[in-house]
Amino acid sequence: MSGPDVKYAHALRAALDRALADDPRVVVFGEDVAVAGGIFGVTRGLHATHGDRVFDTPISENLIVGMAVGMAMRGLRPVAELQYADFVFSAGDEVFLKAATWRYSHDGAVDLPMVVRMACGGGGFGPEHSQCTEAYLMHTPGLRVAVPSTPADAQGILTAAIRSDEPWFVLEHKYLYGTSGPVPEGDHVAEPGRAVIRRRGEHVTIVAWQDMLRRALAAAEVLSDDGIEAEVLDPVTLDPFDLDTLVGSVRRTGACVVVEEAPVTLGVGAEIGALLMEHAFGWLDRPLVRLGIPDVPVPTAEHLVAALVPSVDDIVAAVRRQVG
C-alpha cells in the first residue's frame, strides 16, 4: 500500500467529500454532522463545502435510518450517521426490519443504496455507547457489514459502500479515528468480501479487526520472539465474508484464534468456528480459540473495560496455550 499517511477519520471524510462532489444523489446526515462536523469530527467541513446536502437531524434514530431507507428507494444515496453503533437498536425496527427486508419483501422492485456509519468500541462511554454490534448485523440477511481497520480500508470500503446498491453498515472504531496509515491517492475503492492477510505466519491464524487487529499484530510480534509465527487475518467486511482466504490460511496453519471486542457467545468468532468445522475440519490440528468480552455488558470505567476486552497479553497467552 503506497500513498501519503492519512488519519482514519480523515480518510473517511475524504470518501464522503469525494462522494458528495462526484454524485449529486449523495446526502450525508445525522445528529451533529453538519455544523459541528460530527461528534468524532469525521464530517468536519463537509457542510461548508457541500451545503444542505450535509444536514443535521433531530435526536430521532428511527427517523435517521428510516429516512435513509425511504431516500434510497427513490434514488438518493443516503449516508446516515448513528453516533454510536449501539444505536442500531434505537433504530432497531428500521435497521433489522426495514433496511434488511425491504428489497426482498418487494421482490427487488427497489434497491436500497444506503450507508449507515457509526462509531463502535472503546472504553469510558458505558454500556450503551461502546458496543461493537457487528454480530447482530451479520446474523441479519440483507445487511452488508464493514469493519475497516486501516485508513485505506476506511476510505476504500466507505467509497464502495456509497457506490453500492445495497444497504451497508460501516462500523468505525473510536480508537482508530486518530490513527494514521497510507491511503492510495486518487479514486480509491476497496472490494468488499476480500480479507487481507496483515501478517504472514505458519503456526496459527489470528482473525481480528479494528482495535483487536492492532492488538493481534502486537501479539504476533511478541510471539515471533518465541518462534511462533502467527498469520493475522483482517476480514475487512463481515458480510460478504471472505471464506476462501480464511479457509486457505487455516488449512496452512492448522489453528485459529479469533479476537473480538464483543461478547463471546454468538460473537463473530462463533461463526468462524462453525465455518472452519464445515470447511477446514480435517486441517484443524486443535480447536478454535475465541477471545472476546466475557458475557457481561461493557462497563464505563476504562480499567474495567481493560479487564474484559482481550489484551495483547491475553492474545499471546491464548496462542501459546493453543500452539505450544
Partner: protein, 318 residues
C-alpha cells in the same frame, strides 16, 4: 365538489374494491387462497378519494386495510390477487404477499410490516423526491392505532422542520385491532396532535369523498408549493373484523351495526343516483362490468401455478 367523471371513477373503483375483497374473503374462508387479508370495507371510498386528489405518480405508502389503494392507482385485480395467492404475475412473487404489493412507476412503494414504519420511510421518500427535483407529494396512510408508535412523532417533527411535501393520512376507524381508540389514544381527534408539530391538522368525514378529496387536494397544493406537511384524519367506520379469522369477541353488536350504518358505499351510490349521474341500469351495468372483470381475473390467476419455490432465494440483493 368532485366533477361528475371523477365521482363516477371513485364509485367504480370503490365497487371494484368491495367486490374484489368480498370474493377474496370468500375464497380465503374456503381455504382456496391465503387468509392474510385485512378487509377495507367502508374505508375504501376515503382511500380512493384521497388518492384521486393526488397525481398518479405521487409516492404512496399504504396501510394494511384493503385493496382500494392499489386499484386507485390502476394496479389490476389480477395482479393484486396474484400477490395475495402467491401466484406468478403479482408484484412480489410470494415474498411479501398482500402486505407488500409494489409498483414504483405508479408510486405504489409498499408498506411497513410493523405498522408505523411508514412514517419515517415516508419522510425519506418526500425528502428524496424534493431533493431530486421531482415535484411530487408523498402520502402515508395509517390507522388510529398506528399513530401511537414513536415513529409518528419523529417523522412529524422532522417533516414540519424540513417542510417536507408529505401528507399524513390517518384512517381513524375507532379500533386498533381489538382495542378501542378511547383506550389506546389519549385524544379524541388525532388531528389535534398536528398543532404540536406546527403543522395543519384537519378532521374530515372519511365516508364523504368530497370532503376527503378537498382536504387532500388542499394539503397537496400546500405541500407542492413548499408549505410543508399536513395531518389529515378521516373518520371512518370499521365494518369488518380486524382480520379474516377474527371473531370480534371484544366488540358489541351495536358497535358493529353502527359501523355498518356508516358504510360510505351505499351513500355514494345514493349520491350519484341523486345527482342523476347513474340510474339503476347504469349501476347494474357497472356491477356487471366489475363482476366480469373479476370473473376473468380470478379465473386467470387461480389457474396459474404458485410461484416457484426457487424464487425464495432471489431478490435480496441486486
Amino acid at each position: 365538489m368532485l366533477p361528475a367523471e371523477l365521482r363516477l371513477r371513485i364509485l367504480r373503483t370503490a365497487v371494484l374494491t368491495r367486490r374484489f375483497e368480498e370474493r377474496a374473503a370468500r375464497l380465503a374462508r374456503a381455504g382456496a387462497i391465503p387468509a392474510a387479508i385485512h378487509l377495507g370495507t367502508g374505508q375504501e371510498v376515503g382511500q380512493i378519494a384521497a388518492l384521486a386528489a393526488l397525481r398518479p405518480d405521487d409516492p404512496m405508502l399504504y396501510g394494511h386495510r384493503g385493496a382500494g389503494y392499489w386499484f386507485a392507482r390502476g394496479i389490476s385485480p389480477a395482479t393484486v390477487l396474484a400477490d395475495i395467492a402467491y401466484r406468478e404475475g403479482g408484484t412480489n412473487r410470494g415474498k411479501g404477499g398482500v402486505m407488500h404489493v409494489v409498483d414504483p412507476a405508479r408510486g405504489v412503494l409498499g408498506e411497513s410490516g410493523t405498522v408505523g414504519g411508514n412514517f419515517v420511510l415516508g419522510a425519506g421518500i418526500a425528502f428524496a423526491d424534493r431533493q431530486l427535483g421531482r415535484d411530487t407529494v408523498t402520502i402515508v396512510f395509517f390507522g388510529d392505532g398506528t399513530s401511537n408508535r414513536g415513529q409518528f412523532h419523529e417523522a412529524a417533527n422532522f417533516a414540519a422542520i424540513a417542510r417536507l411535501p408529505l401528507v399524513l393520512f390517518c384512517e381513524n376507524n375507532g379500533w386498533g385491532l381489538s382495542v378501542p381508540a378511547s383506550v389506546s389514544t389519549s385524544v379524541d381527534d388525532i388531528a389535534t396532535r398536528a398543532a404540536g408539530y406546527g403543522m395543519p391538522g384537519v378532521v374530515v368525514d372519511g365516508c364523504d369523498p368530497d370532503a376527503v378529496f378537498a382536504a387532500v387536494a388542499a394539503a397537496a397544493a400546500r405541500a407542492r408549493a413548499g408549505g410543508g406537511p399536513t395531518l389529515i384524519e378521516a373518520k371512518v367506520p370499521r365494518i369488518p373484523a380486524h382480520f379474516l379469522g377474527d371473531k370480534e369477541h371484544y366488540r358489541t353488536d351495536a358497535d358493529r351495526q353502527a359501523a355498518v350504518d356508516r358504510d360510505p358505499l351505499p351513500r355514494l351510490v345514493a349520491d350519484v343516483r341523486a345527482r342523476g349521474l347513474l340510474d339503476d341500469d347504469g349501476l347494474a351495468a357497472l356491477e356487471a362490468e366489475v363482476a366480469a372483470e373479476l370473473d376473468a381475473a380470478f379465473d386467470d390467476v387461480l389457474a396459474r401455478p404458485l410461484v416457484a419455490p426457487a424464487t425464495a432465494f432471489e431478490g435480496l440483493y441486486p
